[in-house]
């Protein structure tokens, strides 16, 4: 098709444009901010343009492929390419990152470095979602960690060093397994390493070895996703990070784990996946209940939202492991939908924090009268998060439910049990979300702060929250927006499982 290396441009553009920031004259932060926002928006628009012209939706194969040899003696290729499944996360990345840079405008300290890191993260994420090579995948995975670590440890809250260290230890610990798995797959059965996804997808391994690889990858992705019991970095990290970082963390970073689960564990190691999926479903179900019932115990607002996203990740895991068409579609939809909703909730929590300077829920109250706009958007998004019909979250969860019901893999009794317990999560979710709303906004409690009246959200904040709200409602009303991207690819992935 076209030979123009679009994807390389997408990957390289943000980080190279970001490094130009350091060359800027010292003229204050405004230039840098506008520059960064411009770069992000430009990249997003460019991606939309390219995908709408050069990407065929009905083709389940990898498109826009690029294949360059990078390091000669090592057989290391710069292989990029996207398919219907990675398209959604890439667009989500562009969207959320643009909004996050917009949300980060109040940051003044070291704003050069901050914005550079944001752009570096942008590159890393797009590179991850579009890489077609295991080693490149791993490198992008690691590239992602450094900006997050710095963003956390420099612009975080009071306990930022603790959480940053925890984050880096957890994820770096996970990466070790990822590297091991990647090397193992590459070196199996041939003398020279082969990292290409497509060649390794067609390979078959002895069962024990496949299970071994599977566990390695699973640990890496379980840390990122997170899957219990490896989730404890997440509340700490989210609780301390600045809210623009939180948006990226909740919106995109968590989705990398789920993406990796599908891309590597499901596509490359299909046999082990069908062995492991019953257990993973049990873990996922437990995760929904466990996180949803830990969440009400949190006093910290951001931690409560963080646990809610842990709970929602459970649906993704169940969807992936249901090994059915609808379940996987639901998981992808949930990836996108939670990307929006989680990011928006953290954004709103952060803007609320900027005003009242309190993180503990029991110190808040009665904010609704002074900031009605934040109240409105916050309640709409909480309702979206508890899967109100008409919003994207509902449809994703519904489809996951159908995936479980229609999946041919499981027996009747286990299906009943799984759906039952999952649905219990449906009762627990409103308990913590609505009580969070109640504690923050309802009531009459007054602060003895010197300035007892707060500014309501300004046009910038309103713009950010509304531009997240629109896709949430849009997907909820017409979910084919997302399905049209991924349906064919999902079928292709699943065909492995049925023709075996």
């Amino acid at each position: 098709m076209n030979s123009f290396p679009w994807l390389t441009i997408f990957v390289v553009l943000p980080i190279s444009a970001g490094s130009l920031i350091f060359l800027f004259p010292h003229r204050g932060n405004k230039v840098i901010k506008w520059y960064t926002i411009f770069i992000c928006a430009f990249e997003l628009l460019l991606m939309n343009y390219v995908f709408s012209y050069y990407f065929q939706l009905d083709d389940p194969l990898i498109q826009l492929t690029e294949d360059y040899k990078w390091i000669q003696f090592f057989d290391f290729y710069w292989r990029l390419g996207i398919d219907g499944f990675s398209l959604g996360p890439i667009l989500l990345t562009g969207f959320i990152t643009t909004l996050a840079t917009l949300a980060a405008r109040p940051i003044t300290r070291d704003s050069r470095l901050f914005h550079f890191l944001m752009l570096a993260m942008y590159s890393g994420q797009i590179g991850l979602f579009s890489s077609q090579d295991l080693l490149l995948f791993f490198i992008m995975w690691e590239l992602e960690l450094i900006p997050v670590y710095l963003l956390l440890s420099m612009w975080g809250g009071k306990k930022r060093l603790y959480s940053a260290t925890k984050f880096i230890l957890y994820t770096a610990g996970g990466s070790v397994f990822l590297l091991m798995g990647a090397l193992g797959i590459a070196l199996y059965g041939s003398n020279e390493p082969r990292f290409h996804f497509e060649t390794s997808a067609n390979q078959s391994y002895p069962v024990a070895l496949e299970i071994f690889f599977y566990i390695g990858f699973l640990i890496a992705f379980a840390v990122k996703s997170p899957i219990i019991p490896l989730h404890t970095w997440l509340p700490d990290t989210h609780g301390e990070a600045h809210y623009s970082t939180c948006m990226l963390l909740a919106g995109i970073l968590l989705k990398m784990g789920a993406y990796g689960l599908v891309r590597i564990n499901m596509e490359l190691l299909s046999h082990a996946h069908s062995i492991f999926s019953p257990w993973l479903i049990i873990v996922g179900v437990m995760q929904i209940i466990y996180a949803a019932s830990t969440s009400p115990g949190q006093r910290n607002l951001k931690k409560r939202i963080a646990y809610s996203s842990v709970s929602h990740m459970g649906f993704i895991i169940i969807g992936i492991c249901s090994i059915s068409d609808m379940g996987l579609n639901g998981a992808i939809l949930q990836i996108i939908s939670h990307g929006f909703i989680g990011a928006a909730l953290f954004f709103l929590a952060g803007t609320g924090y900027d005003r009242i300077r309190r993180v503990y829920l029991d110190e808040m109250g009665g904010m609704a009268t002074s900031m009605p706009k934040i109240f409105t958007t916050f309640s709409i998004l909480s309702l979206a998060s508890l899967a109100l019909p008409g919003m994207s979250g509902f449809f994703a969860e519904l489809i996951v439910f159908f995936g479980i019901i229609t999946g041919q893999k499981y027996l009747l009794m286990s299906k009943i049990l799984i759906t039952f317990v999952m649905a219990v999560g449906m009762i627990l979710t409103p308990i913590y979300l609505l009580s969070m709303l109640r504690q923050m906004f309802y009531g009459y409690k007054l602060f003895n702060a010197p300035n007892s009246s707060f500014f309501d959200s300004g046009p910038r904040e309103l713009f950010v929250s509304i531009s997240i709200l629109l896709p949430v409602i849009g997907i909820g009303i017409y979910p084919d927006f997302v399905f049209s991207l991924s349906v064919d690819r999902v079928e292709a992935i699943l065909s492995n499982y049925f023709y075996r």
């Binding site: 925890k166 230890l169 989730h231 404890t232 970095w233 466990y290 019932s293 830990t294 009400p296 115990g297 949190q298 068409d325 609808m326 579609n329 503990y360 029991d362 110190e363 609704a368 009268t369 009605p372 706009k373 409105t376 958007t377 309702l383 109100l388 019909p389 008409g390 509902f394 439910f401 159908f402 019901i405 229609t406 299906k415 009943i416 759906t419 039952f420 649905a423 219990v424 449906m426 009762i427 409103p430 308990i431 609505l434 109640r438 906004f441 309802y442 009531g443 009459y444 409690k445 007054l446 003895n448 007892s452 309103l462 509304i466 017409y478 979910p479 084919d480 399905f483 349906v487 079928e491």
Partner: protein, 743 residues
């Protein structure tokens, strides 16, 4: 005439622009939107009346030719799975859409005045229009998923409207309670839908019933599983219609503005559960166990609602329990299989109860000017009394509504309730006895409400003796300072908003409250306290405005005449065979009617009259007891004597007092059910949450932190060991040499 069906999509969509526009306007251009204010009320009423005219037309069509129309378009297509959206017009839909739109328009009209001085006027209208939209969507929906979607949307509207005055702590608790309780029902509903999908592979009602019938007929499904699914579906209806185990949210829901209580929590939304059962009636009928369960739940709810309503102080709460018990009657009728009677009672009850709620709203509106904006005061029946003189029109309307609900002949509820009671005798004598007994009790408590409110003397001066010290919280004006200004404008003639400094000091001295260990004073630029001292006792409530009275009068007309749609008018056709041409049966002929298998049975005037006399006499007995107990003592000497003679019966009286005490405690503690839930579920969940939180923090996180800390110490140790000090190396060397020698 079928072209009209093609446009039936407008029923569910035409009112949608109003909430969207108001919502967007409020979010983006709040000032400009608020300026328009009343302008927004007109389009919502206008659009709703279009829908009303349309649905009336549709139901006339339905009466002339029962014809089920269904239109479907696909929503999302996946290769092996497609979801569809559509609308289904059948008699049930047309009846309910007429009901919703008529009550909806009247309530919109009414609330224009009722809410006119509230800051959330526009928000209120947005919620209301959104509610009517989604409710109409619910009744026209053609498959189960669509039902679930609108079911949740309706629940959210109810949540938002209960929490409408979100500065009130009670309201914010109540809305959460309502939502979570409803979510328990939705949980069941969703599981039921999924289960049925698993059994039949379809969401479409008619396909579903067909497949289901076939399966049952051929005995191809596990009966237990089917029953479980049906029960789960029914549990959605239990929560929405406030039936027995999940009824706790309804009385608390009365924290919302009164028009909402009339529209959502009396007439329409709570009828959604009934609607669901009626819609799935062909499915439930096949499983006798579920039918019995429905009847059982119905009768328990009837009884519980009545007993709980007996001694409520709050006028709206009392009406709420009454709603619950009347819905129980409807559920009972459905469980007995008399579909027609259930729908008939649903309609009549909706109009009567809407009338009663609007009447009580009018009372509250008048009382608020005197007693302040606290539901503890303005809705407290103890503080009312003697309102006949002051608000005569409301009184008349309220009286008619009360009579209707008691089941006094010319009014609407008589016809339907009588039918249900008749049918219950056919079904099971025990249920019938309970139903008749509760019919008497209904008359009793309704007249208690009426007498306490309108009879005797005005009791507002008792409010200072009302034992509740902390009620001063709620006289905080709702919307902070600005709101109080509005009030000031509004009730200029009662310049009550000021009070002297001394009182203020004492007030704030007392009201330091505890937040999380630190004592804080309430800062008070935000608060205006309305303190009414006893001098003000001479101000009396005034009749509400005409815009509030007008909808009530219309509803009075409905209450008087809506019974006509179910009254059989005898007519003879050419062959001389008696036919009953009542509109409702004509509408519902194709539907199932289990109890009356033989059509001749239905018009037996003799039986009808005896039954009617029986039920009316029960109602009158209840009214008599109520007037004997609650008619103020000084109003008639005769009663006084009677009372005296009653008082003389020494030991018996003590016993009687005990019974009354038990009933009062039962009622005022809400049958101990709320307390039980609070202890068992809420407490249980709290404990579980604490436990899991502890587990998460100490054990799971503890392990990781422990690993981190140990690795730190190990590192330190190694650093110490390998620090390059020769003495330590020598020490280790000697140590090992020693060990080696010893071995």
């Amino acid at each position: 005439m079928e072209h009209i069906y093609q446009y039936s999509w407008i029923i569910s969509f035409v009112t949608l622009p109003v909430p969207m526009l108001i919502g967007v306007g409020l979010l983006l251009f709040p000032a400009a939107t608020k300026k328009l204010r009343r302008m927004w009320a007109f389009p919502s009423v206008f659009l709703l009346s279009i829908v009303m005219i349309f649905s009336i037309d549709l139901s006339i069509q339905q009466i002339n030719s029962s014809f089920i129309y269904q239109y479907i378009w696909s929503w999302t297509i996946n290769n092996d799975f497609s979801l569809e959206f559509g609308h289904l017009i059948d008699p049930l839909t047309s009846i309910l859409s007429v009901l919703i739109t008529t009550v909806g328009i009247l309530v919109l009209f009414y609330s224009d005045n009722y809410m006119s001085h509230d800051q959330g006027y526009l928000r209120f209208f947005a919620y209301m229009s959104f509610f009517t939209t989604s409710m109409l969507g619910l009744v026209t929906s053609s498959n189960l998923i669509q039902i679930y979607i609108f079911w949740e949307l309706v629940g959210v509207c109810s949540y938002l409207l209960i929490g409408f005055w979100f500065t009130r702590p009670i309201a914010s608790n109540a809305c959460q309670k309502a939502f979570v309780t409803n979510r328990v029902g939705d949980f069941g509903l969703l599981l039921g839908i999924l289960g049925l999908y698993w059994i039949t592979g379809s969401f479409e009602f008619r396909d579903l019933f067909k497949i289901f019938n076939n399966l049952i007929y051929n005995n191809q499904v596990n009966f237990l599983f089917v029953t479980l699914c049906a029960f789960l579906l029914f549990s959605g209806a239990i929560a929405k219609s406030a039936q027995f185990p999940l009824h706790v949210w309804l009385p608390d829901a009365m924290e919302g503005p009164t028009p909402i209580s009339a529209l959502i929590h009396a007439a329409t939304m709570v009828a959604a559960g009934i609607f669901l059962v009626a819609r799935l009636f062909p499915l439930f009928v096949i499983i006798p166990f579920i039918m019995n369960l429905i009847a059982l739940i119905g009768i328990i709810t009837v009884f519980l609602g009545v007993t709980l309503a007996l001694a409520q102080k709050d006028i709206k709460r009392s009406l709420a329990y009454s709603t619950m018990s009347q819905l129980g009657y409807t559920m009972l009728a459905l469980g007995m299989g008399s579909y027609r009677a259930a729908l008939f009672h649903l309609i009549t009850h909706a109009y009567s109860k809407a009338l009663l709620f609007l009447g009580s709203g009018s009372i509250i509106h008048s009382m608020e000017a005197i007693l302040g904006y606290s539901p503890d005061k303005s809705q407290n029946m103890v503080l009312m009394g003697g309102l006949t003189k002051h608000i005569p029109i409301t009184k008349t309307a309220f009286l008619l509504g009360t009579l209707s609900l008691c089941g006094i002949p010319p009014f609407a509820c008589f016809w339907s309730k009588d039918e249900i009671l008749n049918d219950s005798w056919l079904y099971s004598p025990i249920f019938a006895i309970i139903a008749c007994f509760t019919a008497g009790l209904t008359a009793f408590y309704m007249f208690r409400v009426y007498l306490l409110t309108f009879d005797g003397h005005f009791n507002a001066h008792f409010k200072n003796y009302s034992g509740k010290k902390n009620s001063s919280f709620y006289s905080i004006s709702l919307w902070g300072k600005e709101g109080s200004k509005m009030l000031n404008k509004n009730f200029r003639l009662l310049a009550l908003l000021t009070m002297n400094n001394k009182e203020r000091d004492s007030f704030f001295g007392k009201n330091t409250y505890q937040i999380d260990g630190n004592v804080r004073n309430m800062t008070w630029p935000f608060i205006t306290v309305k303190n009414f001292n006893t001098k003000r006792i001479f101000s009396y409530p005034h009749e509400s405005d005409n815009t509030m009275l007008f909808p009530m009068l219309i509803l009075v007309l409905f209450t008087l005449f809506i019974g006509a749609i179910g009254i059989p008018f005898n007519q003879f056709n050419q062959e001389g065979i008696q036919l009953d041409i009542d509109i409702l049966s004509k509408l519902l002929t194709p539907s199932l009617n289990l109890l009356h298998q033989n059509p001749e049975n239905s018009v037996d005037w003799y039986e009808f009259v005896t039954n009617a006399i029986f039920s009316v006499s029960i109602a009158f007995f209840g009214i008599f007891i109520a007037s004997f107990l609650y008619k103020p003592v000084y109003s008639s000497l005769l009663n006084f004597n009677f009372f005296n003679s009653f008082a003389k019966k020494g030991p018996k009286r003590i016993f009687w007092d005990k019974i009354i005490n038990v009933i009062y405690n039962w009622s005022s503690n809400r049958g101990y059910i709320d307390a039980f839930y609070a202890i068992s579920f809420i407490g249980g969940i709290r404990k579980l949450v604490e436990l899991i939180h502890f587990f998460d923090k100490r054990i799971i996180d503890g392990i990781t932190n422990g690993v981190g800390v140990t690795s730190f110490f190990v590192g330190e140790g190694i650093k110490y060991v390998g620090s390059g000090r020769i003495s330590s190396y020598l020490l280790f060397y000697l140590f090992y040499a020693l060990i080696f020698l010893l071995i």
